[in-house]
């Protein structure tokens, strides 16, 4: 054992490789190392992303000169004032109204599934159901929207089903209603509503599941022990405890609906939603300032919504 002298393995006789020297240089300067690591991502996010957000804000204070068709880079509130024309206000009202309706509907549809999964499903079934909710999120968003064009088409499966059930009259009646009806299901606000609920449903189910999971079974048992009927337990214990999940999910459904243009464009008529307004203004007319101003609306609405949600305690559970 003592035959091998340390010198044979000391390796100190070889000069360190340039890689080694560089490595040592960095090792002795931890701040430099940090800078090298963080510099690139931060530069990217700072310049590309934050920079873009700032130009968005700045652009909303410019205006488009109708005459020349060019963006004039001067501070003005004219573009924001433009938002208050009746046509534009209609757009905002329409979008906000849809977002609200979609949120309520998704919450109602999501709750039973979330409740069943967390409360009654066996661990194996629960895992399966959890995956089953995630799966649609993994499929292409656009394809999922597209699928409803097929389903809601005049000659498609939905109409066929309605006809089989003899509900033609009811469907036509709905389609004739002003504001929510249209020429066919696939080109009407009702259709848009259905598709929105469909695509955002997992975003509502998952937070509700998470909130319900956090309710210990013992709490529900205690409620029963104190004399409450199951319905009372649900109303006084389960529902309030699940509320933060509902609110968290609503943040998603609200914000996603406010900004979306794909669904209204695919299934709508000529009445615009905010997303479509943004897209059209920045497109052919090049009216980026107005597009930017329009974009501010969902941002402001969401900030207010988030503040209210925080007040209501949605973030306490997170």
């Amino acid at each position: 054992m003592q035959n091998n002298t340390p010198a044979s393995t000391s390796g100190q006789s070889k000069p360190p490789s340039p890689g080694s020297r560089f490595s040592t240089y960095i090792y002795q300067r931890p701040s430099l190392f940090l800078l090298l690591l963080l510099g690139l991502p931060l530069l990217w996010m700072g310049v590309v992303y934050l920079g873009s957000l700032i130009t968005l804000l700045v652009n909303s204070f410019y205006y488009l000169d109708d005459f020349s068709g060019l963006v004039v880079r001067q501070f003005t509130l004219a573009t924001y004032l433009n938002l208050f024309t009746p046509a534009n206000l209609d757009i905002v009202r329409r979008t906000a109204g849809m977002a609200f309706a979609v949120t309520i509907a998704t919450a109602i549809v999501a709750f039973p599934l979330a409740y069943y999964t967390t409360r009654y499903a066996s661990p194996r079934l629960k895992g399966f159901l959890y995956l089953a909710v995630l799966l649609p999120l993994w499929s292409s968003y656009l394809v999922r929207v597209y699928s409803w064009k097929l389903i809601l088409a005049k000659e498609g499966i939905f109409s066929w089903l309605i006809a089989q059930l003899g509900l033609d009259g009811a469907l036509n009646f709905m389609l004739r209603l002003p504001g929510i009806g249209g020429s066919s299901l696939s080109l009407s606000p009702i259709g848009i509503f259905l598709v929105f609920v469909y695509v955002w449903l997992p975003y509502m189910i998952l937070p509700i599941m998470a909130a319900l999971e956090r309710v210990p079974k013992s709490v529900l048992e205690a409620s029963g022990d104190l004399g409450a009927h199951p319905r009372q337990t649900f109303r006084h214990v389960t529902l309030p405890l699940a509320m933060p999940g509902v609110i968290a999910g609503s943040i998603f459904t609200f914000s996603l609906t406010l900004g979306d243009f794909i669904v209204p464009a695919s299934l709508g008529n000529s009445s615009f939603f905010i997303g479509q307004a943004v897209l059209s203004h920045q497109g052919t007319s090049g009216n980026i300032p107005l597009a930017a101003a329009f974009t501010m609306i969902p941002i402001v609405i969401m900030i207010i919504y988030l503040l209210v949600a925080r007040k209501l305690g949605a973030f306490d559970a997170l």
Partner: protein, 347 residues
């Protein structure tokens, strides 16, 4: 390989501050080539920080470190002729035992034939023959510990650092490993620097040891020196159990109020009224409490006039029943004056 005249490690006014906290405070230290040196102390005393500075994982805030006469303060760990055995073993989970052990050789591009030869040698040394193809997660704690040791030793470092390596093992295994480590060190002949908070371990294995407290070394010496002649109350209390006597009781027993320590095993339990000879101390007491520990029994004696002393007595003729029945009995405690150790200094 002869013992080098240069110290293996020299600390020259080493300090390590973490903001306001002085983990190591202006330490001077010399560790000799070929010795088994232990750094002993409670958590946060600075011993692990010192070890890490020797290895190169931590840089001193001020001061210089010399290894075998070479200033290594600015060198990264891979440029130092030091290897470490980590507290959590730090085995690479994605490599086999053999790949783990031979890692240092692989990095230094040692040819494969020599690698395999030295690997076999190491597996024999740590008594893990034939385990080369296993993965770390298939090994027990004791086996992993030995792989960590082999991985360090295969590079023939002049200095081996061990950071509380036996902490995760159960008592029997720990005692066995202590003997093995000591024997390996003597066979291989390199310097071992060992960090632990277990004073029994330190006393068992070390040639010399340093007792750390609040970033400073309170006492440095051989196990016998430290145990028999603790310099301060802290050392007296930390290394082995000890009775610290001061004030009125001290005056009564030795004539002055200076603090001194007396080891529990040095005190004899005699029947009341036994003659006190020249050169002996004595005090009357009654048994307040006792703990039967198989090999010996530990008694807490309440002294007449106040105070108490811990006395330890081997169970030569005492059974557990005997031991447990003496509560309240009056006794006379007698011991040799020369065993009183004056304890000075702060703690």
């Amino acid at each position: 390989m002869g013992v080098s005249p240069l110290p293996a490690v020299r600390f020259d006014l080493i300090s390590r501050y973490f903001g306001e906290v002085k983990a190591v405070d202006q330490l001077d230290l010399e560790i000799l080539d070929g010795e088994f040196f232990t750094m002993l102390g409670p958590s946060g005393s600075g011993k692990t920080t010192c070890l890490r500075m020797i290895a190169g994982f931590d840089r001193p805030t001020s001061g210089r470190i010399w290894l075998y006469g070479k200033d290594v303060t600015d060198l990264p760990p891979y440029d130092r002729e030091v290897n470490t055995v980590f507290q959590d073993y730090a085995l690479f989970p994605h490599m086999t035992v053999g790949e783990n052990i031979a890692y240092g050789l692989m990095i230094r591009k040692v040819p494969k034939a020599e690698r395999l030869e030295r690997l076999a040698e190491m597996l024999d040394l740590v008594r893990l023959p034939g385990m080369a193809e296993r993965k770390p997660n298939q090994l027990s704690g004791g086996q992993r510990q030995r792989v960590a040791l082999a991985r360090a030793l295969i590079n023939h470092p002049r200095l081996l650092l061990l950071d509380e390596p036996l902490g995760a093992l159960d008592l029997k295994l720990r005692q066995q490993m202590q003997l093995e480590l000591k024997s390996i060190q003597q066979r291989v002949g390199i310097t071992f620097i060992y960090v632990t908070h277990d004073q029994e371990e330190a006393l068992t294995m070390s040639d010399r040891l340093a007792v750390f407290n609040h970033g400073k070394i309170e006492q440095l010496g051989t196990p016998a020196e430290i145990y028999e002649h603790p310099i301060s109350p802290f050392v007296a209390g930390f290394v082995g159990t000890s009775n610290l006597v001061s004030g009125e009781l001290a005056t009564k027993l030795i004539g002055s109020a200076e603090m001194f320590s007396i080891r529990p095993e040095k005190i004899h339990i005699m029947p009341p009224g036994t003659e006190v000879k020249e050169g002996e101390c004595a005090v009357d007491a009654s048994v307040r409490d006792m703990v039967y520990l198989g090999l010996y029994t530990r008694y807490l004696m309440e002294l007449e006039g106040g105070g108490d002393l811990v006395v330890v007595q081997q169970n030569l003729n005492t059974t557990s029943m005997d031991a447990l029945s003496v509560r309240g009995h009056p006794v006379r405690l007698i011991w040799q004056r020369i065993h009183n150790r004056r304890v000075s200094g702060s703690s």
